[in-house]
């Protein structure tokens, strides 16, 4: 088992190198050059040379890449063009906010989706099943920015309620933080909820008609044992795969949701960086999120081996 994890971690290295190379190569595609972007109209050859030296642009590409990646590994993502502040600490502090949002979103999604998916499968073709299927289809079909806008509109018009604009940290004031986060997290989780609901339903239906479920019932198992110990645990394998895949769209979702609700998370930081052409910020955020995504997927893969004994570690 430990060997397996180590092997998987080693397998991560080429992917991480690939990701960083991809980011570096895409950054080279910036039309014109970075320095003219920074300087705007106040260009003088001296200023230019100074910035190029500062950013290491006078060196060959290979060296530029190695310098960048060497620093990045030690947690040095460079400094923002706009504020001059180091990027990495900013990413870390904003990451906490985004993580809170994403985790709450996941929890909402699972709390809603798993029970409904299971009930829907058990009561197949009943009224409940139909309602759940419609809800799930809505969940996957309504883009989060559309539902967010409509919900804000509805709350404002119907209840004259406006979500707090100024962000308050989780540990500063729990109540206010929750008031800020609950609606965004709910909307963020809704897409995942829809797809998890559908996957839970179809996966449960698939498992419920397996011979071993019949055999468990034939042993005299109470329904709750049949459903939770046997059917649900077996169906959770494809559900976990799906959740792993959905993490990516969840991360994309935080960019949109943080923008709409003015939550100072990583997504908002990335977007600000993009809008201000603040390349160290963009580069750092994209690298951080991609690495995070890959690592989460690795964790999901490792989680499998705990659930499914058929996966061999070799």
């Amino acid at each position: 088992m430990r060997d397996y994890i180590i092997r998987r971690l080693l397998g991560l290295i080429p992917i991480l190198i690939g990701i960083s190379l991809a980011i570096f190569i895409i950054m080279q595609l910036i039309p014109g050059d970075v320095v003219s972007g920074i300087l705007g109209i106040e260009q003088t050859p001296e200023l230019r040379a100074m910035w190029e030296k500062k950013l290491g642009l006078d060196k060959p590409l290979v060296e530029q890449y190695l310098t960048w990646i060497g620093k990045a590994v030690t947690g040095d993502f460079g400094e923002s063009f706009r504020t001059g502040a180091p990027v990495f600490p900013e990413i870390m502090s904003r990451f906490r906010i985004s993580a809170e949002l994403a985790i709450m979103g996941c929890i909402f999604a699972w709390i809603i989706a798993l029970p409904l998916g299971i009930i829907s499968a058990l009561k197949r073709n009943s009224v409940i099943d139909r309602v759940v299927r419609v809800i799930a289809l809505m969940g996957v079909s309504i883009p989060n920015f559309a539902s967010a806008t409509l919900i804000i509109l509805f709350l404002a018009k119907g209840f004259n309620y406006h979500t707090p604009v100024k962000y308050v940290g989780l540990f500063e004031n729990f109540g206010t933080n929750m008031e800020i986060m609950v609606i965004p997290a709910f909307i963020l989780g809704s897409v995942m909820a829809g797809s998890v609901m559908r996957m839970t339903r179809s996966s449960m239906l698939e498992v419920l008609r397996q011979d071993y479920i019949k055999a468990v019932r034939a042993k005299g198992a109470p329904e709750r044992v049949t459903i939770f110990r046997h059917a649900f645990r077996n169906s959770s394998i494809p559900i976990i795969t799906l959740i792993g895949m959905q993490i990516g769209s969840l991360m994309g979702g935080t960019v949109v949701i943080e923008q709409i609700f003015s939550i100072p998370g990583l997504g908002q930081y990335t977007l600000t960086g993009i809008n201000q052409r603040d390349y160290p910020v963009v580069q750092g955020c994209v690298l951080f999120i991609a690495v995070l995504y890959v690592v989460i997927n690795l964790l999901v893969d490792i989680l499998y081996t705990y659930i499914d004994p058929r996966i061999s570690y070799n």
Binding site: D211, Y212, A215, A218, G220, H230
Partner: protein, 330 residues
């Protein structure tokens, strides 16, 4: 109650679109105590769903539309179809057990054999200690001739062969000393040599216990090796029922005759494999006359017009054919 199990007038329907379709049509069956009873027929004839109905475990969208099943339990006579959920669960696995066609998929892939054996005990004896369960499980594995039982207990199903898994399924089925074992094609998915071993094992176990066995199969060879009494199913009905010797030597129904001819004799010369022409008419497409008429070489005008009744043609031998009796199904 004279018999262990009495099925009366059992009808099972399924849903096709919104309409109900009959799959099993007024079946009466008596399973005596300490008897091995064979049910034989082609696929879709209703033999498997009969077993599932006894356990009250019909899969959606099948349902029992009529009939009753009485069972002589240790605690007196019960009507299986009228039991509440809790009571039928107490019957399953303790009074009546079942083994299935596919041993490879009949054990939950994510749990060890140990856990799945303990579970069968724990459902019915919640007070049992772990050590007692372990002892009982090992004893059962010994009885079904599993080599290295300790090691097997710790295994996952994918680490074992089909033959071993079917032995384990039998061990699980018998772990609570049931009075009735329903065996639904227990050897169909296995290798021929393993088939023989499993059948021999079942015969031995039957000798040692007071368990009655209902052997459901499409293979008359299996019936000949294991059963005392046989019912032949065709298109949701019993068409012939008799003692095994009587059935093989004084076959009365043309369908049974066809099945017998279709059995390949291993020792015989190679010859063209006999098959009964045509297919079993599926539920919903049954004619009002004899359901075998279209495939029968001796079919007459009358066979197409009226349904022959299942009548006793000699003591203990029932047949549903106008060749033997003129009686018409009510």
């Amino acid at each position: 109650m004279n018999n262990l199990l009495e099925i009366r007038n059992l009808r099972i329907t399924t849903l096709r679109g919104k309409s109900k379709v009959l799959l099993l049509d007024k079946v009466d069956l008596d399973i005596p105590h300490k008897c091995s009873f064979g049910i034989v027929g082609e696929s879709g004839c209703g033999k498997s769903i009969t077993a599932n109905a006894i356990m009250n475990m019909l899969p959606y969208p099948l349902s029992i539309s009529d009939g009753d099943i009485r069972y002589d339990s240790r605690n007196g006579e019960v009507e299986l179809l009228k039991l509440d959920k809790k009571a039928i669960r107490a019957i399953r696995g303790q009074e009546i057990s079942m083994i299935f066609q596919e041993p490879m998929t009949s054990l939950d892939p994510i749990f060890t054999v140990e856990m799945q054996m303990y579970e069968a005990l724990a459902f019915h004896h919640p007070a049992m200690t772990r050590q007692e369960m372990r002892d009982r499980a090992l004893e059962m594995l010994h009885r079904v001739n599993i080599p290295r039982p300790e090691q097997t207990l710790a295994s996952y199903p994918h680490q074992l062969s089909g033959g071993q898994l079917q032995r384990i399924m039998i061990a699980i089925a018998l772990i609570n000393d049931p009075r009735l074992l329903l065996a639904d094609e227990p050897t169909t998915a296995l290798d021929v040599t393993i088939q023989a071993q499993i059948l021999r094992l079942m015969n031995d176990l039957k000798e040692q216990n007071d368990t009655s066995i209902v052997m459901i199969t499409h293979d008359l060879g299996v019936i000949a090796e294991t059963c005392e009494e046989v019912a032949v199913f065709y298109a949701g009905q019993i068409v012939e029922q008799a003692n095994v010797m009587e059935l093989f030597h004084h076959t009365a129904h043309p369908y049974t005759l066809g099945l017998l001819q279709a059995v390949t004799s291993l020792g015989g010369e190679s010859r063209m494999l006999y098959t009964i022409p045509g297919i079993v008419p599926p539920g919903g497409q049954w004619s009002q006359g004899c359901r075998f008429a279209d495939r029968c070489a001796r079919c007459t005008e009358r066979c197409r017009e009226a349904m022959p009744a299942l009548t006793e043609i000699s003591p203990g031998h029932k047949c549903r054919c106008f060749l033997n009796s003129e009686e018409v199904e009510a």
